[in-house]
Amino acid sequence: MTEPITANALELHHLSVAYRVGGRNRAVLRDLSLTIRPGEAYGLVGESGCGKSTVALSVVRYLPRNGVITAGEISLAGENVMKLDNESLRRMRAERVSMVYQDPGKALNPSIRIGRQLTEIFELRGISGQGAIDQAIAMLNRVRISDPVRVMQRYPHQLSGGMQQRVGIAMALANDPTMLILDEPTTGLDATVEAEVLDLIAKLRQELSASILFISHNLAVVSRMCDRVGVLYAGMLVEEGTTEEVFNNPRHPYTVALLRCLPRGGQRKDQIRLDTIPGFLPAPGAKITGCPFADRCALADSRCHNELPPLHDLGDRLSRCHYHERAQDLPRTTPGNIAAAAVVTAREPVLRIESLNKTYAAHGQALRAVNDVSLDLMPGQTLGLVGESGSGKTTFARLLLGLVPADEGGTMRLDGKPLAPKLESRSADQVKAMQIVFQNPDSALNRSHSIRHIMGRALRTLAGLKGAAQQKRLVELVRSVRLTERHLSVKPRQLSGGLKQRVAIARAFAGDPRIVVCDEPTSALDVSVQAAILNLLADLQTKEHVSYIFISHDLAVVRYLSDQIAVLYLGRIMEIGPSERVFSGPHHPYTEALLSAVPKLDEAEQSRVRLDGEIPSAVNPPSGCVFHTRCPRKIGAICEEQEPPLFDSEPEHKIRCHIPFEELARLQKKQEVVTA
């Protein structure tokens, strides 16, 4: 055995893994080699289905029962993991490797108190009783949990997602591992919480000697956290290098395309369509003769289709492309810039909402999910709704649609005519005029019906079309979302996530709606698919002159599509205004924190405005300004005592804050200077 001090933390040599499905081995990882040096943070990126999690599971030999390592070697700190017997494998997992999982709510045992789950780890190492408790408290302190003794008494469900993930990290660090595997550790978390957890991991890296394997689909997160990255495609490493090199100067068309899919640098729908990656990832087990990406690559020629490119060594970096030096010449799949749409000067709003409220009864207490929301939606424009989960975005959307009746008192007007709170009391035209694209197409499309049935039914009920007229319109509609007639006969499960979402969009447009609510329509999709869906929504808006209410936690996405932005916190509008003003600032301290929480690819180091803790409960919201408990710019007692009004700071730009607009401008400008 080699000396552990000099050995690499992790080495994969020509690793191939397959899953046995239906009696056949389907290759998931193909000839994967990578090395993680001691103390290094290595990021593994790629779209869903490319084998990222399989890598993590292989390292600890924890593949599902139908998973087999068909070839290759894994060595952890110089020790061949493949050769370990059960006992040494168990010891390796207990002592040297730790994993943090995507969903902390599922990774923690729901029926055991946090304290017990933590002390158990120390007991395995022979520390028991008070010693284990002290160690557990020390661990929780280390992950910056402020009241560890109380947290130890809690059950997992009593903690918020961010706290749960901290506990997950504490448990992973408890055995002082040499290798820490983080599998999408922040994917399910809000941007503000994600930022905190990433900050924590970054700080812990300086304290610990552990090497890190960081798996994520989020390029920006990886770029912030890792020294080197590997890009995985169809189970193959297609590019590897230092984070900076790979993201700023990619040498594989897939990396190039992936980076172009993201809305960046304030791109907007009236300037540019996002680039997309046509086609689909090869299915697991598919036979790949040439370059795995060739079918989707505009640079590919016959050599690419027939000959698997080797991993070219480009000095400190690798690229699996025959034409790596030309990778960045990859042509765009969409027009780079578009003719600016004729600016329609604001007429009457299509939707006017005044002091809308929604109160739920929660355990005998009133829960104000939406509190005194007033806004206008202009025809053909997009209103973006942003805020953390629990801020009332989705409830607000459901109130508009009438799926949930709003409280008495507020008014909604569609084209000047009053809109009843209850769906049943609305006229057929009013119901038709407002449709929704849901977040999860698996839930939104009936899995028992064919696409033809789903769309036909929508055309019949929303557009009143039957027979031949229905079929004609059906084909038009399907084409307008860039599906083909061949897709009509299949059921939703036979389509990929992006195609399903197109069907859902087509369905929403069946009755020529005036307003379409888009509730996180791309958050379940990969970035390349997300880009295509955003393009489609932008195109449909120009063509159909429809208004969107666009809900998303991804600020870059909201920025791309929105004309107006409303920032919600605990059911209240904290800031509302034209998209560019809200983004460029000066903005509400909450907006400022949201913006600063998002990891960005374009900025190396960001100004840090971090929020403490979690969004308070809407059952018992803080007095005064509801944001004062977390506000980094709180000015004093006034914030705790008086709720600030939504104040017109600039024309059309309203901010709910006691700090005067000019002062906010000064504060936020100073911040930029400091960090510059």
């Binding site: 499905v21 239906g22 046509p278 086609g279 689909f280 990832l281 090869p282 299915a283 697991p284 598919a286 079918d295 989707r296 690559c297 505009a298 042509p331 765009r332 799949t333 969409t334 027009p335 780079g336 649609l401 799926l403 769906l423 057929a428 119901v431 407002m434 449709q435 929704i436 849901f438 999860n440 839930s443 939104a444 499309l445 009936n446 899995r447 028992s448 019906h449 039914r457 929508a458 009920t461 929303l462 083909t484 061949r486 897709h487 299949v490 499960r493 036979q494 389509l495 990929s496 195609l499 369905r507």
Partner: protein
């Protein structure tokens, strides 16, 4: 340069090319219990349909002289108190039970599914009222219901079907209700509301196809219980009437003679009932595993 002609595949290769129905059939084939169960059930179905053509004796022919003969080369399972061949009677004895039990189960499934859809879809007051009534109904033993029904309707196969069907309906309704409750939360139901679909359309066209798997499982499980219930009612004299060679009935008319050592008049009928119930339960097991995968 924007015209990049990259062929867009029409459909992504999905994880499985087989339809869900084919997946289930394949899973049924793999399950260890489904096929043996099916063989047993099909054996009795074949006996019910064609048994009369290969019984060695007429199952209904009396032969008092040869009454209560022990099993022999001529009468494999012996003869009963009227001298009828027990083997022949067991073979065709499945006929009534295999019509009554499935029909009762079908009735229970239809009634239970409808009730389950209504309670699960409307929730609130509708659910509270119907569910409480069903619970009250479930609290009454089947035998009491049967007695009341016989007083009201007289003894007949129809009565047995109605009694068993209605007693099992609440159980199926409960299963369907819980499936509908979770299905109802899915967005396609909201989408249907935003198209102003009627409640009936939403329940029967949108939701029902998605709750078929639990209904199928519950139905096959109930079928086993229904066979048992039919046999019990026949044994008690409330069900199938003489001179049918029905198993439960035969046991009922012969069990008094076990004390006299004439065990063969009862044992083979009892084994027949047991094998059919076991067969159906094995099938139910297989269906459950296949559909819950």
């Amino acid at each position: 340069m924007t015209a990049t002609d990259i062929k867009q595949p029409d459909l992504p290769a999905s994880a499985s090319r087989r339809s869900p129905a084919m997946e289930v059939v394949a899973a049924l084939g793999r399950s260890g219990s489904f096929l043996p169960g099916l063989v047993i059930v099909l054996f009795w179905v074949a006996c019910a349909l064609f048994g009369e053509y290969f019984t060695p004796h007429d199952p209904l022919a009396d032969d008092i002289i040869n009454a209560l003969m022990p099993p022999s080369a001529d009468n494999w399972f012996g003869t009963d108190q009227l001298g009828r061949d027990v083997f022949s009677r067991v073979i065709v004895g499945s006929r009534d039970i295999l019509t009554v039990a499935p029909l009762a189960t079908l009735l229970a499934t239809i009634a239970g599914t409808t009730l389950g859809l209504f309670t699960g879809y409307f929730r609130g007051l509708v659910d509270d009222v119907i569910s409480r009534i069903l619970e009250a109904f479930m609290a009454i033993p089947v035998v009491i219901v049967a007695l009341l029904a016989i007083v009201a309707l007289g003894t007949s196969k129809t009565t047995v079907i109605i009694v068993i069907g209605l007693s099992f309906a609440p159980i199926i309704a409960r299963t369907v209700r819980s499936a509908v409750l979770s299905e109802r939360e899915l967005d396609y139901v909201a989408a249907a509301q935003l198209r102003r679909e009627s409640a009936l359309h939403t329940m029967f066209v949108e939701i029902l196809p998605n709750v078929i798997p639990p209904i199928l499982v519950e139905t096959t499980v109930r079928l086993g219980y229904a066979i048992f219930a039919v046999a019990t009612l026949s044994f008690m004299g409330f069900g199938i009437q003489p001179p049918s060679p029905d198993w439960g009935l035969s046991i009922s008319s012969n069990y008094g003679m076990i004390g006299g050592g004439f065990w063969w008049t009862v044992l083979f009928d009892a084994l027949a009932i047991a094998s059919l119930v076991i067969g159906v339960n094995l099938v139910a097991d297989g269906v459950q595993v296949a559909l819950n995968d």
